[in-house]
């Protein structure tokens, strides 16, 4: 016979109260776990969506001379007669410490070409990378693949009255229009888009690129660190983070997280009050019993120990069950949100935290009732004596 034995017997005897406490705390824990799991899953989903929304790091040749505004983004100096970035150096991006956070690398070569005596900007791209970076592009026809193929911007198509399948003479060379880019409202409307290698030859920039756009997965990486790493890997270039995009992402996620935590804290406070009131009631009900314990030689600490142990057992059970119910609720709710695209990830920190928080809340809420019980004078508790 130990104190634990008495506590377990008491819980078994007062099953109704124990179940009520477990359910009360369980609902609190489950709500918190559900909210935080949903926040996490939706956050990850939003992160992926946003990362697909476009580049957030841009690498340009270092220049103190001309600047070029492209796509609303202020680029580093692009001096068309000055040096470009050596394409061979781009493999160094694979060596930076945060390489796993690099989702897409989109090298581009830019230059002016002549069509029917008029100058137009040609952009050579890696088609696969570019389509990942420009998810909003809508191309009638198909994308460029290889050889002298072009996707033409909306303004260029209208200017030269181009249709799919047309043969266009660029600097005297024949190109086939395989796709028409729907109006984007950006400078992409004024481009001739060709495969990178073809454009490099056409612009006489073999092995060179004018700029590189990078989409970084920054759920758990600081963009500034990546910028520094890229800067060191590619000397002679300017690496810039598109801060606004990153900050917007973080702000949206932070707002959602803040809301979830607000609800979580409210639920935890309600749970704590429930435990407090129930334990106070239990202590009042057990006054005589506590008097017996004290009369036969139990120290105050023994009484405190028994009440807190009871709270710890109930809270631990609530924490474990609450976590499982929370995960279950998340799994049920996720398919209904975000078209089922958001997925649940096992988060051991959340699991451990949920149980620990439940125990902590249970113990803190029971502390005052436990102290009250331990301070009961045996003579007051045992009026029968």
């Amino acid at each position: 016979m130990r104190l634990e034995h008495i506590v377990l017997h008491n819980l078994r005897r007062r099953k109704g109260r124990a179940v009520f406490l477990v359910i009360g705390l369980l609902i609190g824990v489950a709500t918190v776990v559900t909210l935080l799991s949903l926040t996490d899953a939706l956050g990850r989903r939003a992160q992926n969506e946003l990362e697909n929304f476009g580049a957030n790091i841009i690498i340009t040749p270092r220049s103190d001379e001309l600047t070029l505004n492209y796509g609303g983004v202020q680029l580093g100096g692009v001096n068309l007669v000055a040096k470009e970035i050596e394409q061979a150096n781009l493999v160094k991006i694979d060596d930076i410490p945060n390489r796993r956070n690099v989702a897409t690398i989109g090298p581009k070569v830019l230059g002016a070409v002549e069509i029917e005596g008029q100058r137009v900007m040609m952009m050579g791209v890696d088609p696969d990378a570019e389509l990942k970076l420009k998810r909003w592009w809508s191309i009638a026809g198909r994308s460029i693949e290889k050889g002298n193929e072009l996707v033409v911007g909306d303004s260029v198509a209208k200017r030269f009255n181009l249709n799919m399948g047309d043969i266009l003479q660029v600097n005297g060379h024949d190109y086939t229009v395989v796709g028409l880019l729907a109006r984007t409202g950006s400078q992409d409307d004024q481009l001739l888009i060709a495969p990178l290698s073809v454009a490099q030859v056409e612009l006489d920039k073999q092995g060179q690129v004018s700029m590189v756009e990078i989409a970084a997965l920054c759920h758990d990486c600081p963009v500034d660190d990546m910028v520094n790493q890229l800067q060191q890997a590619l000397p002679g270039t300017d690496v810039q983070a598109v801060q606004q995009v990153v900050k917007t992402r973080m702000h949206a996620l932070d707002q959602f997280r803040l809301f979830a935590w607000g609800v979580a804290v409210t639920v935890v406070i309600i749970g704590a009050l429930l435990v407090f009131v129930t334990m106070m009631g239990a202590i009042s009900e057990r006054t005589r019993e506590i008097g017996i314990f004290r009369a036969i030689g139990y120290r105050r600490w023994h009484v405190l120990h028994m009440v807190l142990m009871e709270a710890a057992i109930v809270s631990t059970l609530s924490g474990v069950l609450g976590y499982l119910v929370g995960v279950g609720a998340t799994l049920v709710a996720l398919p209904l949100l975000e078209g089922g695209k958001a997925t649940w990830h096992w988060n051991p920190t959340l699991a451990v935290s949920a149980v620990l928080a439940a125990v902590l809340v249970g113990l803190l809420a029971s502390l005052q009732p436990a102290l009250r019980a331990s301070r009961l004078e045996p003579s007051e508790a045992l009026r029968a004596l």
């Binding site: 008491n10 009369a295 030689g297 003579s379 029968a384």
Partner: protein
């Protein structure tokens, strides 16, 4: 040698606007091995005396010494240790824990001791056998008769082998047969050298005591040593 010494013990309670004197500078000594009966009318201070002796209610003034220990010079936690090591309580209403069986109720005082689980069980077993309940060990209190519950309470009071047993009307709620059984048991314990102080209203119990103290208004009105023939006719 005196096991217990009460020196000018005064105890008063505040009851609303009134100050009630429960013990009035009471002096008393009890020798080791005594079976002391405490009698007196309601409000005479019998239960208060037992509470003060049991380190349950500190006196307003005066001192209580048990086995050379100044009981109220101890801290609250040391008083708890004192109750566990020196005292056994038998309550009028048994005060068993309803969700523990007889064996577990008897083991209750041992739960906070360092004895091994086997030793605790052995002691409780022995004690229940001694009070005549070897076949009722696994019964819950509500499955036991009043007399059996009282015997479980006695076993619980004795399981720590305390030098002093305090009993508050242990036969108060029992019929004649059960009362006799309980008193026989206490007498048996007394004959084995156990010091017992028992509060009672029942004059029939006087025959069992070897000393009886009569209280009135918180003071010793009469102290009768081993002399049943000299008992007053009315209390």
């Amino acid at each position: 040698m005196s096991l217990i010494t009460l020196d000018k013990v005064h105890k008063n309670y505040i009851n609303g606007a009134d100050c009630v004197i429960a013990l009035n500078k009471l002096c008393l000594t009890v020798e080791e091995g005594t079976f002391l009966g405490v009698m007196g009318p309601s409000g005479s201070g019998k239960s208060t005396l037992l509470s003060v002796l049991g380190a349950l209610a500190s006196p307003s003034s005066g001192s209580v010494t048990v086995d050379g220990i100044d009981v109220y010079g101890l801290s609250a936690e040391k008083q708890a240790d004192f109750r566990r090591e020196y005292l056994g309580f038998i309550f009028q209403s048994h005060n068993l824990i309803p969700y523990l069986n007889a064996l577990e109720n008897v083991m209750l005082p041992l739960a906070v001791t360092r004895f091994s689980a086997d030793e605790k069980r052995r002691r409780a077993n022995d004690m229940l056998k001694r009070v005549g309940l070897p076949d009722r060990m696994l019964h819950l209190p509500q499955q036991l008769s009043g007399g059996e519950q009282e015997r479980v309470a006695i076993a619980r009071a004795l399981v720590n082998s305390p030098p002093l047993l305090l009993a508050d009307e242990p036969t108060g709620s029992l019929d004649t047969t059960n009362s006799h059984q309980v008193m026989s048991l206490l007498k048996e314990l007394h004959e084995d050298g156990q010091t017992i102080i028992m509060v009672t209203h029942n004059r029939e119990n006087l025959e069992w005591f070897d000393r009886t103290v009569y209280l009135r208004d918180g003071q010793v009105e009469k102290d009768v040593q081993s002399c049943r023939d000299q008992l007053p006719q009315a209390i």
